[in-house]
Symmetry: D2
Subunit: 299 residues, 4 copies
C-alpha cells in the first residue's frame, strides 16, 4: 500500500472506530425490530442508519441492515456478539456484525483490457473505495506498470483452459498469503473452476459486458451489433458456477445507434462497465449486499 492511500485509510479507521454494521436475515415475524433495537439501545449503541425489507410479506423472509455507533466499540465487541446469541436463536437469525474499521483485503484479477482495473485504482486513490488492494493477478503483463507504480504487488500468472488447475493453485496460495476477503474480476477472461468458486462463495464479483440475461457468454458487443440493439449495457454480479447466471448486483446501459459499429459499442460500453463494477465493489465493501437465493438485496 502506498503511503498516500495508507493515510486515507488510517483517517477513515480513526473516524469510524466506534461504528459497526449489523446484517440480519430471518423468517419474518412480529417483534424483530423491537428486539434488535432494544438490544442496541441497552448497549448504548445509537442507530445511525437502518434499512429493512420483507420479501413476500405473508410468510416471507426478513432482512435488515443497521449501522450504529457504540462508544468503546473495541471493548464492547465480544460482549455484543455473545449477548446477541439468545435473540438470534429466538428469531432463527443468520446474522453478522461488521466493524467498519476492519478494512477488507481485495484482490483484482484482470486480463489485457485494463479499463475496469484503472477505474478501481482511481477510486481507491481518491479515497472513495475503502479497501486494501492487496494484489493484482493477471494473465497478461499489460497492467504491471500502472499497478506497481502505486505500490501494489502485481503477479503475472499465464492462464488457459488446459492449465486451469495449476493456475488456480498458485492463485489460491497468493489469496491466502494476502488474506484476501474479496476477489474482483475486472475483465478477467478466464473461467474459474467450481472448486475455486465454491471456496469464495459470494465473494467474487464479476463484470459482464452486456445487460444480462441478454448476450450471456463470449463477444457480447459483437452480438449486440449483429442484433441491431439500440442500447448496450453492463452487469456486475457474484460469480456462481453457471456462467453469467449469478446474483446480479448492478446494471446500467448506454444508448447506441446505427452509426456505432462493434468497436464503437465496445468503447461506449467500457465506460458503463467501469461505473457498474465500481458501484458493486463499493456496495460490497460497505456491507450493503445480502444474497438471497439467486438475487441480491442492496441496502
Amino acid at each position: 500500500m502506498n503511503s498516500y492511500s495508507e493515510g486515507k485509510i488510517q483517517a477513515f479507521q480513526k473516524k469510524n472506530e466506534n461504528r459497526a454494521r449489523f446484517l440480519i436475515k430471518c423468517p419474518d415475524q412480529p417483534g424483530i425490530v423491537a428486539a434488535v433495537s432494544k438490544f442496541l439501545y441497552e448497549h448504548n449503541a445509537n442507530i445511525v442508519a437502518s434499512d429493512q425489507f420483507t420479501m413476500n410479506p405473508e410468510g416471507g423472509e426478513f432482512f435488515i441492515r443497521i449501522e450504529f455507533e457504540c462508544p468503546d466499540l473495541k471493548e464492547q465487541v465480544s460482549k455484543l456478539e455473545t449477548r446477541f446469541v439468545p435473540i438470534a436463536e429466538k428469531f432463527n437469525m443468520e446474522w453478522k456484525i461488521m466493524y467498519v474499521r476492519d478494512i477488507k483485503n481485495m484482490a483484482i484479477f484482470v486480463s489485457n483490457e485494463p479499463h475496469c482495473l484503472l477505474e478501481l485504482l482511481w477510486e481507491w486513490q481518491s479515497g472513495d473505495l475503502m479497501a486494501n488492494i492487496a494484489l493484482v493477478i493477471s494473465n497478461h503483463e499489460t497492467a504491471r506498470e500502472m499497478v506497481e507504480s502505486l505500490g501494489i504487488p502485481f503477479y503475472y500468472i499465464p492462464a488457459n483452459k488446459d492449465i486451469r488447475h495449476q493456475v488456480e493453485v498458485k492463485q489460491k496460495q497468493l489469496l491466502e498469503q494476502y488474506e484476501v476477503d474479496l476477489i474482483v474480476l475486472a475483465r478477467y477472461m478466464q473461467i474459474l473452476t467450481p472448486e475455486f468458486v465454491g471456496h469464495f462463495e459470494n465473494r467474487i464479483i464479476n463484470i459482464h459486458h452486456s445487460f444480462l440475461p441478454a448476450f450471456i457468454g463470449a463477444k457480447p458487443y459483437e452480438r449486440a451489433y449483429q442484433r441491431g440493439v439500440k442500447m448496450i449495457g453492463a452487469t456486475s454480479h457474484y460469480v456462481t458456477n453457471d456462467l453469467d447466471e449469478g446474483p446480479i448486483i448492478e446494471q446500467n446501459i448506454g444508448r447506441v445507434d446505427h452509426r456505432d459499429n462493434g468497436e464503437d459499442m465496445k468503447k461506449i460500453g467500457q465506460s458503463i462497465e467501469r461505473s457498474v463494477l465500481a458501484r458493486a465493489v463499493k456496495w460490497h465493501l460497505e456491507d450493503r449486499i445480502i444474497v438471497y437465493k439467486n438475487k441480491t438485496i442492496v441496502f
Copy 2:
C-alpha cells in the same frame, strides 16, 4: 367519481383496511427506534416497511416512516393514538398516523395546457393514483370535456391578477365543499395569494417547467432555448410564497440539441413534466414526504 374508479378504490381500501403509516420527526437521540418498535409490537402491529433518516448525525434531526399492519385497526385506532402520547412527549416528537384506507380528496387546478392533467387522469383511471379526484378547477374551458367524461366535476373560474381575491374566495368555497386534502397545480398559470398558500401549507404541489433553480418564473423553455442549454427539465415542489422557491419533491431532465427550437423543447419538456408531477403526487398520497425547513425527505 365514475363507477370504474370507485371499484378500484373500494378494492384498495378493502385490501388495506388494517394498514397504517407512522410519520415521526424529532431531535435525534438514542432509543427512538427501540421505543417505537416496542410500542408497535405490544399493540400487535407488524412492521411491513420502515425508512429512517438522521439529518446531520451529531445533534441533528431524526425522521422515520413506518408502514405497519395491525389486526382490527379500525378498533385499535383511538387506543393507539392515545397510548402513544407519552412516548411522543418523552422524545419531543411531531407525529401522525395515516390510515391507508382513508383516501385523500384531491383538487386539480389547470389552465389551457392539459398534458399534466391528462397524465394524472390516466394514472388515476388505471388505478395507479390512489386518490379521490374530487374536482377540477380551471380558468379555461379547454379541459371540461375530458374531465366531465370521467364523471369528475369541472368548474370554470376565469382568473387574472386583478380579480385574484374574488377568484380565490370561490375556489376556497369549492375546496371546502369537497373537503379537499391536496391541491395539484397541473400547469395552472396563476399566482396564488399568500393567504391562500398559507391556508394549505405543504398541501399544494406545483409543476414548474425547468430544472430549478434555473429559469425561475415565466417562459422557461424560451429562456432555455436562448441560453443554448443541452437539456431541459421539470421540477415538482410544494408551493410557498416565494415563487418557484418551495421545497423540491422531484426533478428530471431530457436531452435537447441545437436542432430543437423553443417549440420542440416545450414538447420534449411536456413529457418530463407529466412524469415528474405524477411521481410527486403519488409520493404525497402515500405519505412518503416529510417537509423539513425548505427541503423534502422522500421515503
Copy 3:
C-alpha cells in the same frame, strides 16, 4: 376522425404542402450526394435537412434521407419522379419520395391492457402524432369507450390461436377498407400468421415489454423478477416471422430494485413501453426509418 384532430391535420398539411422527403439506399460510391443535390437544386428544391450514413465505409451501403421544400410541389411531383429515374439507375438506387402532406392511415391493434393505446391517442390528440388513426381493432371490449369517444371506429374481433385464420381475414378486410399504411400492435397479445406479416412487411410495429434480446416471448416481467435484474425495459420493433426478432427501432429501460415485485415491474415498465412505442411510431410516420437486413437506420 373528430373535428379537433381534423383541424390539426389540415393545418399541418397546409403548412407542409411543398415539403417532401427523399429516401435513398444504394451501394456506396463517389458522387451520390453531388448528383442528388444537383438534381434538387436544378428543380428549385431547397434542402431543409439531410442525414446520411455509410455502413462499412469500404465497399458498403449508402443511405440518405433528405427533407426539401419545392415550390408548387403538387405540380412538380410527376416531373421530379420521372426525371430522377436516370440518376437512380446510374447509382443502382432503391428510392422513394414521400410527400409530407400525405398523412398515413394507421390501425391500432390492442388486447386488454390499454396503456400503449392511450399514449398514442394522447399524442394524437395533442397533435404530436401526425397520422389518421383510421380504426382500432381489439380482441377485448376494454378500450371501446375511450376509442369511440374520440370518434375513432372500434372493431371487436375475438381471437385465439384456433381461429387465427378467420380472424385475420376479417382484419385484412378492415385494413383494406380503411386503406391502412401502418399497423401498430399496442400490446396486442396474439401471434400473427406469416401470411399476414408478409403482407405488411416493415409496416407492423410491435412493442415488446423487455430489453430484447432478453426475455423473448411470454411473461417478461415475471421472468425479469425471477432473474433478479436491476432494470427492466421495452423494445419497439418491426414484426417479422421470428417472434421478437424483427428489426429493433427503439429501446429504453427503467431501474428497479429488490423492493419491486413482478407487479411493480409491470407498472414501471408500462410507462417505458408507452414512450418507446410512441417514439417508434412517430419516427415511422416521419419516414425516418430505413430497414436494412435485420437492422434499422433511424435518421
Copy 4:
C-alpha cells in the same frame, strides 16, 4: 509524449492521412450542398459523413460539417483550398478544412482536484482522446507526479487574483512555446482576464460543476445542497468573459436525495464532471463544434 501514446497517435495519423473535415457556415440559400458536393466529387473526394443544420429555416443560417477521404490528400491540400475560394465567395461562407492527421496540441490547467485531469489522461492513454497533451499547468503541486509519470511536462505556477497578470504572462509564454491549440480548464479555480480569454476565443473549454444556468459561480454543490435539489449536474462550455455564461457544449445530471449531503453531492458530481468534460474535449478535437452567437452546434 510517452512512447505508448506516440505509437497510438502515429497509427491514427497513418490511418487518416487522406481524411479531412470541411466546416462551413453561411447564410442559407439553395444550391450550397450541390456546389460543395460537386466540388468534392470533382476533386476525387468521397464524402464519408455529412451533417448539416439550418437555424431558422426562413432567412436563416446554414451550417455543414463534411468528413471526406481524398487520395493523396497531402498533395491536394493547397489545390483544394485555392480552388474552393470562388465557391466560398459566391455563397459568402466562413469555412475551414481540418486535416485529421494534424493532431491538436492541448494544455490542461488544473488546481487541486485532479479527477477531471485524470479522466482526460485516462482517455488519452487508452487512445480515445486523439490529442497531443503538450503540458499541464497548475497552481498546486498535487498532480505533478501523475502527470510526469506519463512523460507530460508539468508546470507549477502559483496563482491568485493579485498576481493574475504576471501569472498569465508566464502561462502565455508556455502556451506559445508548446504551440497550444486548445486549453482545457479541468477544474482550474482561477478566473482568467478578458485579454487572455480574447486571445484564445472558442479555444478554452471549462467544466462547471452545476447544470447551468443554475448555480453560476462559487460553491455550486453547497448551494445545491442548501436548495434541496433532487439532482446535480455539470456543464462544459467555452470560456467567455461572462463567468459561466459561455456557449454550452455538453451537460448532464445525476440523481441525489435527502441522504446526500454536500460532500456526497460533490462525489457524485465528480463522476458527472469527468464524463461531461471528456465528451466536450473529444468533440472539439474532432472538429464537431461550431459556435454561433452564444450557442454551439455539435455535429
